[in-house]
Amino acid sequence: MMKSNSKVLIAIYFLLSATVVMGQATEPWVVPAAKKSVKNPVAVSTSVIEKGKSLYMANCKSCHGDPGKGNGLPLVPKPTDPASDKYQAQTDGEMFYKMQNGRGAMPKFAEVIPDNDKWAIIHFVRTFSKKKNSADAGKIMPDTLPAGSSFTSTSLNGKPITLKLKFNEPDSTLIATVSTLNEDGDLLPVEGVPVGFFLKRYFGSLPVGEEIGRTDKDGRIEVAVPRNLPGDTSGLLHFIARVTDPEVYGIAMDSIGASCGKPLVIVNITEERTLWGRSRVAPLYIIITFFGALAAVWGTMGYVVSNVLKIAQKDV
């Protein structure tokens, strides 16, 4: 139910944005030079490409089509086939920037797909390149970890940083702790790292808190979660905390589920007694009229028949 809902919403979003964009002239999409030169930080591996493929299929194919088949949606401008020369001529950084920011009918995926997953998609898309694999960029990176576990990356000074997210039930606050390992393998808190908190929604994420804060000297940062956020049917909400300046501090994120939202009450209108519903939920007056009339007519007929059969009795 939720899943198909979100798909419908995404489709509507795309169509709406598509209509808005129609008629706009296709101006070249200029990517700032700094962003253009960003290299893919995720190391290429079979599993990364596999992951990129499944993410592409789930998030990109509906408009861009199957790479190489040119079967994307007929929007204006037409979504570029990722296998095309024009598309492959871009740098990894350009692709990432465009995914990150979106334009017109192309949605903004900044808060929708985690950064390392976007890089995985780029790895997948590069498999259609005629030059084959541009994985000369980027350092060796571990594969993306499953959702819910913390993600470790390299900070600027070459040490991996870790982000841990916790939910403090009594105060309704999210607490993120950013730390790094010293030479002895101990955890050290990192101060001054910008951390953003987000709430997962159908499409994209909702920022929690007014502005992006920085960790204190204990590597801690906390943000208050409003108590009236609508959750799923059990009130469950999914939060994400991530380092918002990965180019400086490296990629680090964590997610957590917390039952602190208002439970969603789904009013299933197909369960109500309506004229247009199923038979089981037909309005009572119709059922009563139907069976009442049926009983009256067939009852009378039964009475007549039983009477007529009395003709055979001798004493009549």
Partner: protein
């Protein structure tokens, strides 16, 4: 009541003549075998056509995505309409104590039962998967006119059955006495049916009371059957069906079809069964007047149905009405309305025209028009949906019934004739005891 009682001797004499006249066609029937053979032959052809439809699916008809209700549904509405006559003659006129209907009530009931029974079968013919018929009952929606239609048609068949066979109880006793030489299987039917009839006052009381109850009961049921049938259309939003008068419009049209059918049957039975002494010119005269009355009511409803929307000409209605008045369907429409309804009704106003031979042909026209009218109600509306028909195969745009469809439309009509033929072979087409009673014969001797 008003009739003078005959003496015992006269009673016996009169009853004897009535019995002889009315039972004679049961044993003397030149050409009946040939007639049945012809009907059965058509059944074989129709059966083959149905086999093809079952094997290849409804694609063998001209029905497509847009015109998905074709000739079959038109035929169904016609059948339901024609079956309403049973209620009109024996109930409405009967309860009004109109005496002259006595010799034609059974003919009307036979027509009613035969058409009602086949109406149900016509619906099954229209189903692509008749093996799923049970699902209509298992998963039918109480909110849908379809379920109500199925229910009310079956109920009407049951009441019509009782109304036909109740008055046959005394007649079965008479047949047992008069025609003991009939085949054994046939005698078994009368043995079962006569219920030990001995013409006792208590037995008469039961029969008359029961018939009276049924006569009252059938009125709401008959109105329901055709009103619900009209709601199959009127409960949609389609221009041409979305009208508030569809219920009474259908019911009034049904009486026109039914009266015409009865006149044709009266003519046939009068001359073939030599019942001229019972179905007289007087009865034709009266039925002609009834036809004028019901036609006038129907014409009035037609004026409302067509000219009220035509005065306003809302876009969607306009597309439909222009096609009917001056467009694709205009020839059929005006033929149906003028030649098959207005002119016969007008001619029958004059006494000179209310003679059996003329009335027969006028009734044939009226009945033909009644069938065509159902076709015109069902089909053209579907070719003008609110959203334009585009990007579809050419066959979706038109509806020209195929040979198989036409065969399977005639098949139920042949089926009706077959049922009437069988009933008329097994039982007198005029109620012996009721006619005898009317002529003053002592009730207690009719056994």
């Amino acid at each position: 009541m008003s009739v003078n009682k005959l003496s015992t001797e006269e009673s016996y004499k009169t009853l004897n003549k009535i019995e002889t006249d009315l039972l004679r066609p049961m044993t003397h029937h030149k050409g009946l075998e040939l007639w049945i053979l012809f009907l059965v032959l058509f059944f074989i052809i129709g059966g083959y056509a149905y086999f093809i439809q079952l094997r290849d699916g409804l694609g063998v008809t001209a029905m497509r995505d847009y015109t998905s209700w074709g000739m079959y549904i038109g035929n169904f509405v016609f059948f339901v309409a024609a079956s309403l006559i049973g209620m009109f003659i024996s109930s409405v006129l009967g309860l009004l104590k109109i005496k002259w209907i006595t010799p034609i009530t059974r003919i009307a009931e036979m027509i009613a039962l035969a058409f009602a029974m086949w109406a149900g079968i016509v619906i099954v013919i229209d189903m692509g998967r008749p093996d799923r018929l049970l699902n209509v009952f298992l998963h039918g929606r109480f909110q849908s006119p379809i379920l109500w239609d199925v229910t009310v048609v079956s109920t009407y068949v049951a009441i019509s059955f009782l109304l036909l066979f109740l008055p046959l109880i005394p007649d079965a006793a008479v047949i047992r006495r008069r025609l003991p030489g009939l085949p054994k299987w046939q005698m078994k039917i009368y043995d079962l049916l006569y219920l030990g009839w001995e013409a006792r006052p208590g037995q008469y009381l039961i029969i008359k009371k029961s018939m009276r109850i049924l006569a009252i009961l059938i009125i709401p049921v008959a109105l329901a059957i055709h009103t619900v049938t009209s709601w199959l259309f009127a409960s949609t939003l389609r221009a041409g069906w979305d009208t508030a008068i569809f219920g009474p419009y259908f019911v009034s049209g049904a009486f026109v079809a039914g009266v015409a059918a009865v006149i044709i049957a009266m003519y046939f039975f009068r001359y073939n069964y030599k019942l001229g002494d019972y179905i007289t010119d007087f009865h034709f005269n009266r039925m002609g007047q009834v036809l004028v009355l019901v036609s006038a009511i129907y014409i009035y409803f037609n004026l409302n149905e067509y000219f009220v929307p035509a005065y306003k000409m809302r876009i969607a209605e306009k597309v439909h009405l222009v096609e009917m008045f001056t467009g694709h369907w205009s020839t059929l429409f005006w033929f149906t309305q003028i030649i098959c309804l207005v002119i016969p009704a007008f001619l029958l106003i004059f006494k000179k025209m209310r003679r059996p031979s003329i009335m027969l042909w006028l009734s044939v026209l009226v009945l033909l028009g009644a069938w065509l009218k159902r076709f015109l109600i069902v089909v053209p509306v579907q070719q003008h949906p609110y959203l334009p028909i585009q990007n579809v195969p050419d066959s979706f745009h038109h509806y020209i019934p195929t040979g198989i469809e036409i065969t399977l439309t005639i098949l139920p009509i042949v089926g009706v004739l077959l049922i009437i033929t069988i009933i008329a072979k097994l039982f007198p087409v005029i109620s012996v005891w009721e006619v005898a009673h009317e002529k003053g014969v002592d009730e207690s001797i009719i056994k």
